[in-house]
Symmetry: C2
Subunit: 365 residues, 2 copies
C-alpha cells in the first residue's frame, strides 16, 4: 500500500492524453447531429464544449503538445477549432474504441517511444475536478511502473443501470486493485446488489496504460487488428498511410476495448476512486442533472414557462416554449428540429434518428 506521485514513475512528458472523440451521440438528438456530435456541445452556461472541458480538466497532467484526439475525418475541423493545440489522428470510419485506441498506440510508439496513454472519453462531465485529477494521477502512475491495463473505477453513489461495473479483486497498492471481473450494464435489481455489496465500481471508460502494454494485449486477444496496426505502422508518414489505414479499419471488427481486450486480459487493474461528480451525460435526463431546477423541479433552459407541471426538462432556443399541464416531459429545441418525449423515453431518441433516416431526412440527422 504505497502512494505514488507523478515523479515516481511517469514524467509529464511521458504522458499522452488520448481523447476519444469518435462518438456520434445520437442520444442527444436534436442538439447533436452527425456533423456536430455531443462532444462539441456545451452543457454549461460557460459555453465550453464537453471536449474542451475534458481537455482543460487534465492540463495539470502534461503539456498541451501531448494531447492527441482520435476522431472521424468529418470532425477534424471541429476538433481543430475546439482544441487548436491537440494533435488529431483521424479514423477513416467508426469502429468503436479498440481499433481507435490501437491506432493511437501505433502512432505513439513511432520512433521507439513508449508513453503512458491516458485514454479519456471526450464527452463526460465531472463536477469535482480535483477529485478527478487525483484519481487520474494514481491511474497514470500505476500504469507507468508496470505492464498493467488500468481502468479508472468510481465508487457508485447510486445503483445506476446506465453504467458498466467492475468487481474489485485483490488490493494492489493505494487505491489500486486487481480486476475481479467486468460487468455490462445491469438491470435494476442487479444494480442494487452491486451497489450494496460495496465490491463494485463504475467503469468510467477512462484508462491508463503504456502504449506497448495495450499493443501486446491487442496482439494476444485481437490478433487481426494487431496485424492491421502493424501494417499501418510501416506506412505512417508515407503516401500510403491513408489508404492502408482505411483498408485496415474497413476489415477490422468493431469492438470496444473492454469487450475485445480488457475482459480477457489477466493484467488488469482498477483504481477505486472516490466519486468526483462524474456523469457520462448519456441522455437528456443525465444532462439535466447539471442544472439548477425551479421550485417545481423543472429545468428551464432558455425561454421557457411550465404551468401545472413538475420535473420537466425544457431547453428552448430563440423562442418561448410553454408547457401546460405536463410533468416529467422533455422538450429540446434545436432550432431546425425539436424533440418532445417523456423523461422515461430519452434512451429511445435513437428511434427518432432511425425514423428520420428512413424518411431520408439526412439534413436533420
Amino acid at each position: 500500500m504505497t502512494g505514488y506521485t507523478m515523479a515516481d514513475s511517469a514524467s509529464a512528458d511521458d504522458v499522452k492524453v488520448v481523447i476519444l472523440a469518435g462518438g456520434q451521440g445520437t442520444r442527444f438528438w436534436p442538439m447533436s447531429r452527425t456533423k456536430k456530435p455531443k462532444q462539441f456541445l456545451s452543457i454549461s452556461q460557460s459555453g465550453e464544449s464537453l471536449i474542451q472541458s475534458t481537455a482543460r480538466r487534465v492540463l495539470g497532467l502534461t503539456t498541451k503538445d501531448n494531447f492527441v484526439v482520435m476522431t472521424n475525418i468529418m470532425h477534424k475541423g471541429l476538433i481543430n477549432s475546439h482544441l487548436p493545440y491537440a494533435r488529431v489522428i483521424c479514423e477513416p470510419m467508426i469502429r468503436n474504441t479498440a481499433p481507435s485506441i490501437g491506432l493511437a498506440a501505433i502512432h505513439l510508439t513511432q520512433n521507439d517511444k513508449d508513453p503512458v496513454m491516458l485514454v479519456l472519453p471526450a464527452d463526460h462531465a465531472v463536477s469535482n475536478e480535483e477529485g478527478l485529477l487525483t484519481a487520474l494521477k494514481e491511474a497514470v502512475n500505476c500504469a507507468a511502473k508496470s505492464e498493467v491495463l488500468v481502468t479508472l473505477g468510481i465508487q457508485p453513489v447510486v445503483p445506476h443501470t446506465g453504467y458498466g461495473y467492475i468487481k474489485k479483486g485483490k488490493p494492489l497498492h493505494g487505491n489500486a486493485f486487481n480486476v475481479g471481473r467486468f460487468f455490462e450494464k445491469p438491470n435494476h435489481e442487479r444494480a442494487i446488489k452491486y451497489f450494496e455489496s460495496g465490491e463494485f465500481l463504475w467503469n468510467s471508460g477512462m484508462f491508463a496504460w503504456r502504449a506497448s502494454t495495450i499493443l501486446k494485449s491487442i496482439q494476444k486477444f485481437m490478433p487481426e487488428l494487431y496485424d492491421g496496426l502493424i501494417r499501418i505502422k510501416e506506412v505512417i508518414g508515407t503516401a500510403q498511410e491513408a489508404s492502408v489505414t482505411s483498408e485496415v479499419f474497413e476489415a477490422c471488427e468493431s469492438s470496444s476495448i473492454d469487450f475485445g481486450v480488457l475482459e480477457h486480459a489477466r493484467n488488469c487493474a482498477v483504481i477505486a476512486s472516490a466519486p468526483f461528480g462524474w456523469n457520462d451525460v448519456g441522455s437528456w435526463d443525465a444532462w439535466a442533472e447539471h442544472f439548477d431546477k425551479d421550485e417545481n423541479g423543472n429545468l428551464r433552459y432558455g425561454d421557457a414557462v411550465v404551468i401545472d407541471g413538475k420535473n420537466c426538462v425544457v431547453h428552448s432556443q430563440n423562442r418561448l416554449i410553454a408547457v401546460l399541464g405536463l410533468s416529467d416531459l422533455v422538450v429540446i429545441d434545436a432550432g431546425d428540429a425539436m424533440l418532445v418525449c417523456p423523461r422515461g423515453r430519452v434512451q429511445d431518441v435513437r428511434k427518432v434518428v432511425d425514423e428520420l433516416q428512413r424518411l431520408k431526412r439526412a439534413e436533420l440527422i
Copy 2:
C-alpha cells in the same frame, strides 16, 4: 307551416351581413395574438382566413357593399386586408356582443333605413356551406317579415359541452320555433339529457333581426346602453363621433346579446337547422377536427413525426417536431412561441397567456 324565399320578404339589398370580429381568441395562443386574433388565422390548406371564409360563405345572400365588420380599432388594417370590400365599424374597446351589435344597428339605421341584420361570428367553421346558406336564408326571411329576434339553432350531433343550448318552444313556420329557453354550456350529464330529448338545439351565435327590432329590445332590457347608442347616433359623421363612442363604450356594461337581451325577450325565434358541419373552432382540439389524421389518429400539420404515440395534434412551422412516446398531446409551433399541453388541457391555454401577462411578455401575447 309555410316556406319562405328571400323574395317573399327581404331583398338582397335589404340584408346587411354584420360580422362580429372583436374576439381575442386567446384559446388559440400561440398562433393567435392580441395583434392577430383567431379570426385572421387560416385553418385550411387553402390559406383562407376564418373571417374570409365567413364572408365568402354568405356572398350568395347579398352584395359585397352590404358587408359590415365590427372590430377593434387595432384590427382595422387587418380587416381591410382580409375583406377589402367590407365596411369596418370600430369599437373603441372590447365590450362583448351586445354593445357591438347595438353599435352596428345604430349605424345601419342612419337615414331611416331598417335593414335585416344577419349577425355572424367571424371565426366559426362550416363544412356544408349549402346547408348553412339554406338555414341563414330561412333566418333572414323570418326576421324580415316580423318583429322577431331570430337565432340560428343547429340540431346537435353529439352531446357537446362547449356550446350553449336552446330549448325549442311552439312551432312557428318552416323550421322556425318560438324559443322555449336559452341555456348556458351544460355539464356532460346535462348535455346528454339535452341531446337525447331531441328538444334542444345548439346556439350557433348567428342571428337575424331587423335593426329596429334589436334596438327596441336593447331599449327595453339594456336601457343605459340604448341611451348611449342614441347619443352616438346623433353625432355619427361629425367630429365628435369617436369621442362619444369611446365615452359610451367606456361606460357601458360588457354583456353578450344572449345574456343582455335574448334571454329576457319574448319575441325570440329559433331556426331548427339540420347540422351543416358547424364548429366554433373554440380550441386546438376543435381545430384538429378539420384535418385528416394519420393511421394512428395523429394530426401532423407541417413537418412532424410521431413515434409510439396516438391522437396527437402537432402543428409545426419551419422546423421538424418529433414526438416520441406520447399520446393525446398538443404541440403548436408559432415560430416565436410554442405550446405543449395534453389535449384535455387545451381549454386552459388562457393560463399561459395570463402567465405571460404577469411576466410582462407583451410581445408574445
